[in-house]
């Protein structure tokens, strides 16, 4: 059974805007999938549907066999703890330190202070920021900020990590570092979904590539390249 199943997903927004059209896609546990396409092709909509921020107009999304399209409001946090999310704009709290930003994800889930003190240093070690836990986001480079976000996304030990344009604000060196980190996380067994329009990144990865165009899946290759339609 696939870990994630998008079954005939369509998403229409008011004003006759079709973001996704009859998308069917399966992602297995432990896969590293790049979802690519130009701006406005429905990549981010797919992410929003996966983290239950929005509901599809048609179709079903199954997460480990659980149909999340029918999930109740109180079940949404359960979904989000299973999926770590990384965005292009970091979404870090500027008044909190690196440690506190990562701890925040655990605090809101009711994890005890003692456990937080154990878990956060481990996460910061994974992303290579164990020596910067007292820094504030503005004291970090873009790549370091994104690594803090990745550490926070891993706080609940999610089965899936979704990175939506994680390198969009980064230079080539930082981009490479972040991609290497995502690969490392994937090697630990976490399913990684990388949403990007960065051709070089995708081509260097040599992993599965799903190409979206006009809200449709136009290509799905196991060891693919970023091919413009």
């Amino acid at each position: 059974m696939p870990l994630i199943e998008f079954r005939n997903i369509s998403k229409n927004y008011p004003g006759q805007t079709v973001a996704l059209h009859n998308v069917t896609l399966n992602i297995d546990k432990g896969e590293f999938v790049s979802i690519v396409g130009q701006s406005g092709t429905g990549k981010t909509t797919l992410v929003k549907l996966l983290i239950a921020e929005e509901k599809p107009t048609e179709g079903r999304i199954l997460l480990g066999g659980w149909d999340i399209t029918t999930a109740k409001a109180r079940e949404v946090p359960v979904i989000r703890r299973q999926i770590g999310v990384v965005f292009q704009d970091f979404k870090l709290l500027p008044r909190r330190t690196v440690f506190e930003n990562v701890a925040f994800a655990l605090e809101v889930a009711g994890v005890t202070a003692e456990r937080i003190k154990e878990i956060v240093p481990q996460l910061l070690k994974i992303v290579g920021l164990e020596h910067k836990n007292d820094r504030f986001p503005k004291q970090l480079s873009g790549g370091e900020q994104q690594r803090v976000v990745i550490a926070r996304a891993l706080a609940h030990r999610p089965e899936i990590l979704v990175a939506d344009e994680p390198t969009g604000n980064l230079d080539s060196i930082n981009t490479k570092e972040i991609i290497e980190l995502l690969k490392k996380i994937n090697e630990f067994g976490t399913t990684v979904i990388l949403v990007t329009h960065n051709r070089e990144v995708v081509n260097e990865l040599k992993r599965r590539v799903v190409v979206l165009d006009g809200g449709r899946v136009v290509s799905d290759q196991a060891r693919g390249r970023y091919v413009l339609s």
Binding site: I51, E53, A73, R74, V76, P77, V78, I79, R80, R81, V85, K91, L93, F104, A105, E107, V108, A109, G110, V111, T112, A113, R152, A153, A155, H156
Partner: protein
């Protein structure tokens, strides 16, 4: 886990309070004004109802009996009056007590004391103090005791009619209550709007945190609870401040209340100290309900979880 979550929710609500400190101060001030106006209204009601009950206690008919009546005759008259329709109680004041009361009442007038000395003997007879079952019954009883049936025994009967005063106090109290209710209502509406606006501003200030909370899987109740608690915190502070203002205020008006009650002791501070738990408890509950309604509406409108 429950206590860990609770402590964090409390922490977040305190952060909400401090981060928009001046807005919080304004909110607490407005709720305090509402509660002070409600408290004043409550105090006025207590004073007027106390005054009315004291006045009602004072309504009676004094039936002065002829001094030459024997004790047996006096007792017979008392029994007869007691049997009249509408009579609740009859108190017998014997001649000696009547004289003492008369002396006491006119102790500041030396002429009366001299006149009593001149007379030498007690000029007063026994009297009966008659209480009616209802306010309306007094006139009928008075008519009866001054009728032919009692003319052999009764020298004179007097009825201090406090009904006009009672009516005047009732009217005044009703007017004050109406004005107070309107003022309180205005403050309550303003409080609702201010709390609503404060929570809205806090949601706006914390929009980043809220979006991250949602992203990392915070439950809806965890996101909402700090705002609800914030409303309760406003209500608690406003109630405490109201109590802190109210008691010194009561002490300040106590002399005027004493003057109003003209010799009767009515200790406002003591009264409200004894009833403070229920008086301020209800105000706190009311303010909490008000804050929670405003918070709920603001969250429904602006907090998408």
């Amino acid at each position: 886990m429950f206590f860990v979550t609770l402590s964090r929710v409390i922490k977040f609500s305190l952060q909400n309070f401090w981060r928009n400190f001046w807005l919080s101060v304004v909110t607490v001030t407005i709720i305090t004004l509402s509660l002070v106006s409600v408290s004043i209204l409550g105090a006025l009601n207590i004073i007027s109802s106390e005054a009315l009950s004291r006045l009602e206690e004072r309504i009676d008919i004094s039936v002065y009996l002829k001094p030459e009546l024997t004790l047996a005759e006096v007792q017979a008259v008392k029994t007869q009056v007691e049997s009249l329709a509408g009579v609740k109680a009859v108190e017998l004041v014997n001649a000696e007590d009547a004289l003492n009361r008369f002396r006491e009442r006119h102790s500041s007038n030396p002429l009366i004391a001299e006149a009593l000395l001149e007379i030498g003997e007690n000029p007063l007879g026994a009297s009966l103090v008659v209480k009616a079952i209802s306010d309306q019954g007094y006139q009928e009883i008075l008519d009866e005791v001054t009728s032919e049936n009692f003319s052999a025994y009764v020298q004179n009967a007097r009825y201090d009619d406090y009904r006009r005063v009672i009516q005047a106090i009732t009217d005044l109290s009703t007017k004050l209550t109406n004005v107070g209710e309107i003022i309180s209502l205005i403050f309550l509406i303003i409080s609702l709007l201010v709390v609503f606006n404060t929570i809205r501003m806090n949601i706006y200030t914390h929009r980043e945190e809220i979006s991250i909370m949602r992203l990392v899987g915070a439950s809806n109740s965890f996101i909402r609870m700090p705002f609800v608690l914030e409303g309760i915190l406003y209500a608690l502070l406003a109630t405490l401040i109201t109590a802190a203002i109210f008691f010194p205020g009561l002490s300040a008006v106590q002399p005027y209340v004493n003057g109003f009650f003209n010799g009767y002791q009515f200790d406002l501070v003591q009264y409200f100290t004894e009833h403070s738990l229920s008086f301020f408890g209800w105000q706190f509950i009311g303010a909490c309900v008000l804050s929670m309604i405003a918070s709920y509406v603001a969250m429904r409108r602006y907090l998408r979880v």
